[in-house]
């Protein structure tokens, strides 16, 4: 679709608009890019007040850790190749190898294999290659930019951050699945019932959403810790201690996020024409059958959008997880704060930065994959007030 001529902006306006956009993108990306740069430097460089020391890392270079021009070329080449592979080869390969019904499984496997390959190439093959080549190149082989992976190694290998990653995965998956199952049903019910009761339920949900979280969560803590003692009269010795259990936290997060999911999905279902399910009802379906046969096939854009918001809640939560989970089940976000409390050193803080960057990486991936669905789902009416 081409824009009508009269709608096209004047050059001056276009310049201003694009300039503004460039400024916004810089603003949006700069803090994150900066912490990514910090995470590759030794502490003295990472917290230097001169930006060029942070960028080029003289101390890091002095410690013999750095990239030469040749390394940079190699790295950029590999990065470009990886990007090409991801955007062009990977989709077609997935489509080719996986049977149509299991395409999603194909995607999961494809992405995992690709991720593994990237890790092996960047952490295994490239460093080995540069070690062989650099001595031959003379000045081109001298380190130019300080860069060290020691903090990532400390975080992931020595401090076993992968355990926190798995916990995060568990909590997030749980939150998304349960939140969507419960929320979709309720959202549909609320959208199709025009009763005053439905309205007041929505208002109450809204007020619930307005509750300060710290009040709720600190309220749970004593009950959760004592739950085995409280529930013993009912469950006997099988009474569980809710404190520290991931599934208990999952339910808390689902409930806290439920009002938002409800509102979003209700608006979305309202935009699906009533005639659709009414036609099904005329054909003799119950409400549930109508929901399953008619609504489910068309609801995915809205559900995916709502799911993404649930994902963010589960993945990014700090207050609930830090209070209600024990050390063994700690998710990533509360786990990194143990690196930068009052009792840490500078090295710990750079490790915290490295961990923070590691946490952000999956979010990057998520937005890359689902970007179109977010906009699409919202356009389809998930946010009509």
């Amino acid at each position: 679709m081409s824009t009508p001529k009269a709608l096209r902006p004047s050059p001056a306006l276009r310049l201003a608009s694009n300039g503004f956009l460039a400024f916004w993108c810089l603003l949006a990306a700069f803090p994150l890019c900066w912490i990514a740069v910090m995470s590759f430097k030794v502490p003295v460089d990472a917290f230097a007040s001169n930006p060029f020391s942070v960028l080029f890392g003289p101390e890091t270079r002095a410690a013999g850790k750095g990239l030469s021009i040749c390394d940079l070329l190699l790295g950029l080449g590999a990065l470009w190749a990886a990007f090409r592979l991801a955007t062009q080869r990977l989709p077609s390969a997935v489509v080719w190898y996986s049977p149509p019904r299991y395409r999603w499984l194909g995607w999961i496997i494809g992405v995992l294999v690709f991720g593994l390959a990237v890790v092996v190439v960047f952490y295994g093959i490239l460093p080995a290659l540069s070690r062989v080549i650099n001595p031959w190149l003379g000045p081109l082989g001298k380190p130019l930019i300080g860069l060290t992976l020691e903090h990532y190694r400390a975080v992931w290998v020595e401090n076993a951050f992968y355990r926190n990653f798995l916990n995060s995965l568990l909590v997030t998956t749980g939150v998304v699945t349960i939140s969507l199952t419960v929320g979709t049903l309720a959202g549909y019910g609320l959208a199709r019932s025009g009763s005053t009761l439905a309205f007041w339920l929505l208002v109450v949900a809204l007020i619930f959403r307005a509750l300060p979280h710290s009040v709720l969560v600190t309220g749970y803590l004593p009950v959760f810790i004592k739950s085995a003692e409280i529930l013993r009269p009912i469950f006997g010795d099988a009474a569980p201690t809710l404190y520290g259990k991931p599934w208990a936290v999952i339910f808390v997060l689902v409930s806290i996020n439920q009002p938002f999911t409800l509102w979003m999905l209700r608006s979305f279902f309202q935009n699906i024409p009533r005639e659709l399910d009414e036609a099904a009802r005329v054909d003799g379906c119950t409400h549930f059958q109508a929901f399953r046969r008619v609504i489910m096939p068309v609801m995915w854009p809205g559900v995916i959008t709502a799911g993404l918001f649930s994902f963010l809640v589960g993945y990014n939560d700090y207050l609930t997880t830090s209070l209600l989970l024990d050390a063994q089940n700690m998710t990533m976000v509360p786990a990194i704060t143990s690196y930068f409390n009052a009792e840490t050193t500078m090295t710990d803080q750079v490790e915290a930065v490295a961990a923070a960057v590691s946490i952000t990486a999956p979010l990057f991936l998520l937005v890359m994959v689902f970007q179109r669905q977010i906009v699409g789902g919202l356009t389809a009416g998930a946010v009509k007030g």
Binding site: P43, V44, L221, T241, A327, T345
Partner: protein
């Protein structure tokens, strides 16, 4: 691929074998600890874990979780890491087990000054002490011909000289994010008392005003962002050569000489905390950290917990982690870090007066003192506000009728 798995498995087995080697016996009772998360606790819980079956929970929220965890029956944790103040609620609610019988059985190596006794019964075993004392850049003081200050008047003169010389960004540093503690230290240094009969507050007096005024004088020589400066930040300022003196935690002394982070290796020296008045006691309080055993657990568990704790607090652990703290444990050879703490104690600094009412007082101070330092309230009003906040809280918690 299979080879990798095999190697991985072999490596894990090997590590497990090495881990076992640190403990003299194998623990078979499943135990759980709840401690703070700083370096010394990492070392101690690591040493405990070597005995097997020990699950350590090192947490920032220890003060929120620990008392609640100890209060359930059976207790969620077996071993707790406490400090001077956090043991108060545990003792008050009767949640810790007296340790005298276990000490007789397994604790012969403990020194008498490690035992925390309450009403004649031993309730906790201390492993380390901590105190704020003077750390200074010896090179700067020598260069400018300044003697090591012993009173705060001398600190101010020295700071003025350093400022004039312009050798560092800020002459003084301080972890004043916990301003309340700075006030408590200073006020006690002036010889003030916090309470009068009936748990009523008594800080609104000339000594309180003097302490506040002295604090404000110090801020003139500090980084203007002092209210957000925590210990790590001050440590970083020291390491990067931005400050010359600070009344700072003994546990941080080791980091000054860490070549990986510090640009002032060997230049930072320790001395007793300065006193506000000539010949007075230093403006510092002594803190201890140690372990307690929960009451609501079985005899067998308590015994196992105590044995594991003794393994965590043994000679090998201390010798491997000498610089992390000022240890009280047998076999510790005091390093330079201990000098400042020892001199501060010898100069008459008192233990932190931890109690339920002091906890309330501390919150009242914390929430009001920034108003004075930022110039929003004069000294008298600030002290009156502290007393009013304390009274509200004390009436609500039932301490004051």
């Amino acid at each position: 691929m299979r080879a990798t798995y095999f190697l991985l498995a072999a490596a894990i087995c090997f590590m497990a074998a090495v881990a076992q080697a640190g403990c003299t016996y194998e623990n078979t009772v499943s135990l759980k600890t709840s401690t703070a998360a700083f370096q010394a606790w990492k070392a101690v819980t690591g040493a405990m874990a070597e005995c097997g079956n020990v699950e350590s929970e090192l947490s920032q929220e220890v003060h929120v979780k620990q008392a609640a965890g100890f209060a359930t029956n059976p207790s969620l944790y077996h071993i707790g890491g406490v400090m001077t103040s956090s043991i108060v609620p545990l003792v008050n609610k009767g949640l810790v087990r007296p340790l005298d019988d276990l000490i007789a059985k397994y604790g012969q190596q403990l020194k008498p000054n490690q035992l925390m006794k309450f009403e004649g019964r031993t309730l906790a075993i201390a492993m380390m002490v901590n105190a704020q004392h003077l750390m200074y850049r010896e090179d700067i003081l020598n260069e400018l011909g300044i003697a090591v200050p012993t009173t705060y008047t001398e600190v101010l003169t020295a700071a003025e000289k350093i400022k004039k010389a312009g050798v560092v960004d800020y002459p003084l540093g301080g972890s004043w994010k916990t301003t309340w503690l700075e006030f408590v230290n200073m006020y006690l240094g002036y010889g003030g008392g916090f309470f009068k009969e009936g748990n009523l507050p008594a800080v609104n007096n000339a000594k309180g005003v003097a302490a506040l005024e002295m604090m404000r004088k110090l801020t003139a020589y500090m980084d203007p962002e002092y209210l957000v400066a925590d210990s790590t930040y001050v440590q970083q300022q020291f390491q990067q050569g931005k400050i010359a003196m600070a009344n700072f935690w003994a546990s941080r002394a080791g980091a000054m000489d860490d070549p990986k982070e510090s640009q002032v290796v060997g230049k930072v020296k320790m001395a007793a905390a300065p006193a506000p008045e000539k010949g007075g006691i230093p403006a510092s309080t002594l803190w201890w950290d140690g372990i307690v055993i929960a009451k609501n657990i079985s005899e067998a568990e308590a015994e196992a917990a105590f044995r594991v704790a003794m393994e965590g607090l043994d000679k090998e652990m201390v010798q491997a982690n000498r610089d992390l703290a000022v240890w009280l444990i047998e076999g510790y050879e005091p390093g330079p870090a201990a000098k400042g703490a020892a001199e501060t104690a010898a100069a008459g600094a008192r233990p932190y007066p931890a109690s339920t009412k002091m906890g309330l007082m501390q919150t009242a101070i914390a929430n009001n003192i920034a108003d004075f330092l930022t110039g929003r309230q004069p000294a008298k009003e600030t002290l009156a506000n502290i007393e009013a906040s304390y009274l509200t809280a004390a009436k609500e918690s039932g301490i004051v009728k």
